[in-house]
Symmetry: C2
Subunit: 255 residues, 2 copies
Amino acid sequence: MIQRGLLITTNNIATLAAFDYSKVKVGKRPTVAILSTGSEIVDIGKKPGRDQIRNSNSVMLKVMAEQCGAVAEIFPIAGDDLSNLRSQISNSAKGKDILIITGGVSVGKYDLTKAALIELGAKIFFEKIQLKPGKPAVFARLGKTLVFGLPGNPVSAAVTFQLFVRKAIMQLQGSSATALKQGVAVLSSNATAARDRDTHLPSRLETDENGRLIAVTLRSQGSSDFVGFAQADSFVFLASGKAAQAGETVDIVFL
Amino acid sequence: MIQRGLLITTNNIATLAAFDYSKVKVGKRPTVAILSTGSEIVDIGKKPGRDQIRNSNSVMLKVMAEQCGAVAEIFPIAGDDLSNLRSQISNSAKGKDILIITGGVSVGKYDLTKAALIELGAKIFFEKIQLKPGKPAVFARLGKTLVFGLPGNPVSAAVTFQLFVRKAIMQLQGSSATALKQGVAVLSSNATAARDRDTHLPSRLETDENGRLIAVTLRSQGSSDFVGFAQADSFVFLASGKAAQAGETVDIVFL
């Protein structure tokens, strides 16, 4: 009833105790390095200039990774200079199972993260995906470290973490449930996918008096609206080009 | 947008960072003592005799309390002897915000927990409730410590923890969201409340292809069936005397 690969939870730990498992073998907690990049990012506690924002991604990704069971470490912000970025990637990846880099994947003229990874000899598995948000995401391996280059926008970083990085962290621990729980809900308002990209819309779930699960997509002023995202407990999935009306059923994943 | 009383989560911590809150004032983590009682309980690692079970409640309640933000400590099992129980209650409650006692509230001839609490001068707020499970639950105050006497059956202890103790832990931290999230779901099979007691049925939620939220009540071989409980993510609520058919809507709370 408690099989290899199952997560130990508040609900099943009593079963372990009742059957006398005072010690159990568990998966090793993966180690995760977190590196924010870009001259548009400043540390918390510093005053952002024009076109700059504070580094909210690092702390968010740290707690997200820890919630999946990882041991996470935040590294100093890397600048927009290729040789500097290269050495910071190399340094932060050292001995880690996973390196998460945010920003630098599509901003400005150069795709610096990818360039730095290639110069370091990383193997690139994918480097542009037909997803919204997430288009510029990069997945690579540098030595033994899995590297995820996520978009710098906080909401895009959060969504792509949940879709890709979470799965890797669960898998590395030996979890047999690496996917988020799926379901079907009813849209509370019209929603549209990107024309050429499968789309995940952060949403909040409620139930109506008929026991229907209602997905309220969180209005977003662009992909940096993490204030709206704060209420998300699910994503609505819409295939590329699809438009769904209020009242239609849509596929969802639970966060 | 982040108000006093709101829980800091993976979803909203980025907002704090973005608005430069590198340090925030948070509620103090309540301290919780956990005391299992009864000669029918043996420690994990020991072999239970006839009519004995291992102490699964303590570890379960510890992780449940910690998940609510408490700092929890397990005390040695107290025997079925009144003077011993009295001194163990007194000792474990010392300096704690909350003491959770399981067992001893209705087993056998004597209601030992209540007797010990009264002898210690505790103020009893309630001592029998019209709830299933939970009928013998006791709520009292001993000095400055809130005391919850929960039933010894693991499922009953888990349900009453979620209904009562969770709320107290959240409240003591200053949380403004002390209640579990409520909703409406559709029953997957017939269910009946106790004739004279409002009933909470542990259940597992799924969605059907119409976006309806389906509550699958977890079949239980009595209130000690914590193996079935391991899958619970919700409780179905049925008012006393009520019978609901498969396909009917019922009130639920999300765990």
